[in-house]
């Protein structure tokens, strides 16, 4: 997508290596203010690493290069104090397993208050009152008393609500939700997703939803990026991606999806498996699993424009759409 002014977040050629092994191989991505963007792809495709790298949350063993700009300000080379202000302030992140994502020896209220103190300068009774308000906002019943319990005394769904309350504490412009419902029961999943959708609209914040589940992403997001082996391979408005997927990988993912209605499944039905990151094929990483692979696929594919806001990294993309 093109932005006249700077987008809220702009990733350019973001790359990550662990001990020399590439995990992310040049990700370009813009997130506009208030926009909801989905990030899908098989396990290990680099969805989490993208955002951990963007926020400087990877261990020091990770070699990160490229550019991460927040409203035009470069974050990758930024001093630690800048990152501390951004994290949980302008950009908040929630994670997959809420039970282990909260400090087990600290009361949940105190963990929310810590964020309020850091980003809103609140303390004492004011912080507690605001934490209680946030708990009510995310739908934790009996909020006043729930502030004083420990994570193990709450269910997984309640813990994820605490995580969301904590993320909202800094009034973020962007919330990155990394598979926020994978660890939860189906009914709880739907509730948490509804909550995220509601909050995104009410608070006008941008949302990046990372998921295995194309169906979930289509429901929640206006734009979807598909990742494969450390790269974005296709990006399109949600309806377009579903109606006219251009990359063979995306087509495979959609074919593996049962129906738009009915129970959702994990994306597994493409034959073959993701190449090992230390043993990537030259050119297109999907070629070994692709029915349509030709010699042309031995060179790294460029993005082709498939329509407004729709790009795909496949030399055969145009023919595929025609076909």
């Amino acid at each position: 997508m093109q932005f006249v002014t700077d987008p809220l977040v702009r990733l350019r050629d973001l790359s990550v290596r662990f001990a020399g092994v590439p995990a992310l191989r040049g990700v370009d991505l813009d997130i506009g203010a208030g926009e909801a963007v989905g990030l899908v792809g098989e396990s290990g495709s680099g969805k989490s690493v993208t955002w951990l790298a963007a926020l400087g949350l990877l261990p020091p063993t990770a070699q990160v290069s490229g550019s991460v700009k927040l409203a035009g300000e470069e974050l990758l080379a930024a001093p630690q104090s800048t990152l501390d202000r951004v994290r949980g302030g302008r950009v908040a992140m929630i994670f997959q397993d809420p039970a282990s994502a909260l400090n087990p020896v600290q009361r949940v209220g105190r963990q929310v208050v810590e964020a309020l103190r850091l980003h809103r300068g609140l303390g004492g009774a004011a912080a507690r009152a605001e934490a209680k308000r946030l708990f009510e906002l995310v739908g934790i019943p009996d909020a006043g008393r729930r502030l004083d319990v420990y994570p193990h005394e709450m269910s997984g769904g309640q813990n994820q609500r605490v995580m969301i309350a904590m993320a909202l504490a800094g009034e973020p412009e962007l919330l990155v939700a990394d598979e926020p419902t994978t660890a939860l029961d189906a009914t709880i999943q739907a509730q948490i997703l509804d909550l995220l959708r509601r909050l995104q609209h009410e608070m006008g914040m941008a949302l990046v939803l990372i998921s295995h589940d194309l169906g979930v992403v289509a429901d929640m997001c206006t734009r979807v990026c598909v990742m494969y082996a450390g790269k974005i391979v296709e990006e399109a408005p949600s309806e377009v991606l579903f109606e006219r997927p251009s990359h063979p990988y995306t087509q495979g993912l959609l074919a593996a999806l049962p129906a738009m209605v009915g129970p959702r499944r994990r994306l597994t039905a493409i034959p073959g498996s993701v190449p090992e990151p230390w043993n990537l094929p030259p050119g297109c990483a999907f070629a070994p699993r692709c029915e349509r692979a030709t010699k042309a696929c031995l060179a790294p594919p460029d993005f082709r424009s498939m329509g407004p806001g729709h790009i795909a990294a496949c030399v055969h993309a145009r023919e595929l759409v025609m076909a």
């Binding site: 949980g88 087990p104 810590e114 964020a115 193990h152 993320a167 800094g170």
Partner: protein
């Protein structure tokens, strides 16, 4: 909670009974005190009289029951050697032992824990490798070897510090270092691995992701969690304040409980040996109890377990 405490106390008491029983059995079966204490040429009648006077002619289970009955009345017996109450002999040695073991404990805590934290926070750095090398040396070199090396260097070669005795505070330096070094190594290693384990947990990433500065992540989130396993080791060290200096006291001829134990064992001075073992077992058990209670303070998950167990 009360039932949990009662259960803990009962278990503690049982541990002490087992230790004392074990000591009683081993010491009685490994040699006749009468033969060791009386000179070998003593007439048979004198030996018999000694046995009778100390109840050694009774069946062993009678001796055992008598012994327990006495303990229950607070009577820990009388030394075969000089007829003084065992408890007196032992208690007058305790200050000397604590004078070594408490500073040594400070050394272990003050060096081991910070070194372990530092090593974990700077994993694979030169300082991490140095700390780990020191730690391995600390707990692989036996304390008598380290003690003798220190004596050779600082007393014999350099003549800076006394090699033994209890003349001044300077006599304490070498034994305290000898005692503290190994423990500091153990603690450094333990703290390091506890910290590494905790630093890899998702909630540490959560804290960073919400903008908590790293120092505060370490202080407010990592340390309180890493303290939980570390407390076990510290508790063990506190528990060995009395008994942990046997070897070092012998090397440095330090007149503490450990030396008394060595002498009493070789003399088969049963009352004294048993009194010391009882003391050692009690401190161990008491510190274990404190550790258990501390777990409850440090880890709310266990607190819940404890109260759940009480219902």
């Amino acid at each position: 909670m009360l039932r949990y405490l009662a259960l803990r106390l009962a278990r503690a008491a049982l541990t002490i009974v087992l230790v004392v029983t074990f000591a009683f059995v081993v010491l009685r079966l490994s040699g006749d005190p009468a033969l060791i204490i009386m000179s070998p040429e003593a007439p048979v009648e004198a030996i018999e009289a000694f046995r009778h006077a100390w109840g050694l002619d009774q069946p062993i289970w009678v001796q055992y029951l008598d012994y327990f009955r006495a303990i229950a009345h607070g009577d820990l017996g009388v030394s075969f050697r000089d007829g003084r109450p065992a408890i007196e002999l032992v208690s007058e040695r305790i200050p000397a032992t604590l004078a070594l073991t408490i500073p040594a404990l400070m050394l272990k805590l003050g060096v081991g824990i910070p070194a372990g934290i530092h090593a974990a926070l700077h994993r694979n750095s030169t300082s991490d490798r140095l700390v780990m090398a020191g730690a391995v040396a600390g707990f692989t070199v036996p304390s008598f070897v380290l003690g003798l090396l220190l004596v050779l260097l600082f007393s014999v070669q350099l003549g800076w510090l006394p090699s033994g005795g209890q003349e001044s505070w300077r006599s304490m330096i070498l034994p305290v270092i000898t005692l503290g070094f190994g423990g500091a190594g153990v603690l450094a290693r333990f703290t390091r691995s506890a910290m590494l384990e905790v630093l890899g947990q998702p909630y540490i990433r959560t804290a960073s992701a919400k903008g908590v500065p790293w120092r505060q992540v370490v202080r407010g989130h990592a340390l309180p969690n890493a303290a939980i396993p570390t407390v076990t080791v510290v508790g063990f060290m506190v528990g060995s304040l009395i008994a942990g200096a046997v070897v070092v006291e012998s090397v440095f001829s330090w007149p503490g409980v450990g030396r008394l134990l060595v002498v009493a064992v070789s003399n088969r001075d049963l009352a004294v040996v048993q009194c010391i073992l009882l003391l050692v077992a009690s401190t161990m058990v008491a510190s274990n109890l404190v550790v258990d209670l501390l777990y409850g303070v440090l880890d709310p998950r266990l607190r819940a377990g404890a109260t759940a167990g009480a219902h």
